[in-house]
């Protein structure tokens, strides 16, 4: 079921999500899914979902396989934090904060990747025009998906 939901989310991310794009910015449903899996299903499944989600995202993008590396790490970290700290629980506000934090980390990872290019794009432009809107939109989408009950399909 988990893999099916991940694949369906990926198909939505590639096609339907474009209809709700604001400018060029779309929420990252696969990142939200990895966080939800980490919160609900624990470390192993979070790592697996992270690998699958990251791999799919990289296949349909271009360039290096950053997400295949990063997504399972996000999943593992979130589930380890949940195990370690009692206040991290399946609560709307807590999950919103975790998605927000993971999005920021993901943005930093991407900006570091771009800054290592021979002709890197402007870091300031990346941060202002991509990272900030993506973090905000993805966090907002996570609340909607939470309220729609995406977690219960996992």
């Amino acid at each position: 079921m988990l893999y099916l939901v991940t694949i369906l989310t990926a198909v939505c991310q590639l096609t339907l999500v474009n209809t709700v794009a604001i400018g060029n910015i779309r929420p990252d449903l696969l990142l939200i899914l990895v966080v939800f899996v980490a919160m609900k299903k624990g470390l192993m499944k979070a790592a697996l979902a992270g690998i699958l989600a990251g791999f799919i995202e990289d296949i349909f993008s271009t360039g290096a396989f950053i997400n295949t590396l990063a997504f399972p790490v996000y999943g593992i970290l979130v589930s380890l934090l949940k195990e370690k700290f009692y206040f991290i629980k399946e609560k709307l506000s807590v999950e919103l904060l975790i998605v927000f934090a993971v999005c920021i980390v993901d943005s930093i990872v991407h900006i570091i990747y771009f800054s290592n290019w021979d002709y890197p794009p402007s870091i300031l432009a990346l941060a202002v025009f991509i990272a900030v809107p993506t973090v905000l939109y993805t966090s907002f989408a996570s609340v909607l998906l939470n309220l729609c009950g995406l977690k219960y399909f996992l």
């Binding site: 400018g23 060029n24 349909f60 360039g63 590396l69 593992i76 794009p121």
Partner: protein, 261 residues
Amino acid sequence: MYGIRKRHLIIAAFLIFPVVVAFSPDAVTGGIKSQLTSIIKIPLVLVNSLSNKLQDAITPKGIFLQQINSKDIQIKTLQEENARIKELFLENQRLKELLSFKQNLTFKVLPAQVIAKDPANWRHTIIIDKGAASGIKKYEFVISQQGLVGRLCETGKNAAKAILLTDPDFRVAAVDQRSREEMIVAGSARSVCLLKYIHHDADIKIKDAIVTSGLGGFCPKGILIGEVIAVRKSPEGLTEEAYVRPAARLNRLENVLVLME
């Protein structure tokens, strides 16, 4: 103890896969990407056509709202029919425009449909429903009736991936149509492109049309890229740089043409 060790071993095994994939040479991963893109093409085409229909149905104002408010079944049926005709009309108009544009072109082109877009916001790519089986090759340019769209970066058997003008990895030689100043157009990761390496006393003004120069041999000369919207000194101060708004509507691409050799 054994449980913890086993768990660590499994996690380590899981993490080996992404590390292997991430550090594999591009020649290997590029091939895998192209093949997987071709395999998953069918569900993407289905969901994408659904998504396009949904988008076109939302665009004509208030069709949904009228349907919800109206209680008369007959009116509902007529409205549905109307929406369907409108959708067909829009599709017909798009294809007609593309056809007349294609007839005006002097080079060989292949029409293709956009079936998916990059899942993340960091890169600007599209996936089209034509691949090597249709005779297209890597590095060929993609255009729409409005202007240049991008360049193919991966080609599978039945699908191909193109980076858009605005992708940070995109570069093309260009020229100002009015003053004939030569420059490089580069993607900026935003919705605009950047004109790079312009001499500080170059004659470039706002609203100038930028077209491909044909230098480098990959892209034909004279394809419209966009319009200059701002000119400023580069951060180093030695040259100038300008921003160009792409002529092609990159966030609303449905049908494109691949310029074939």
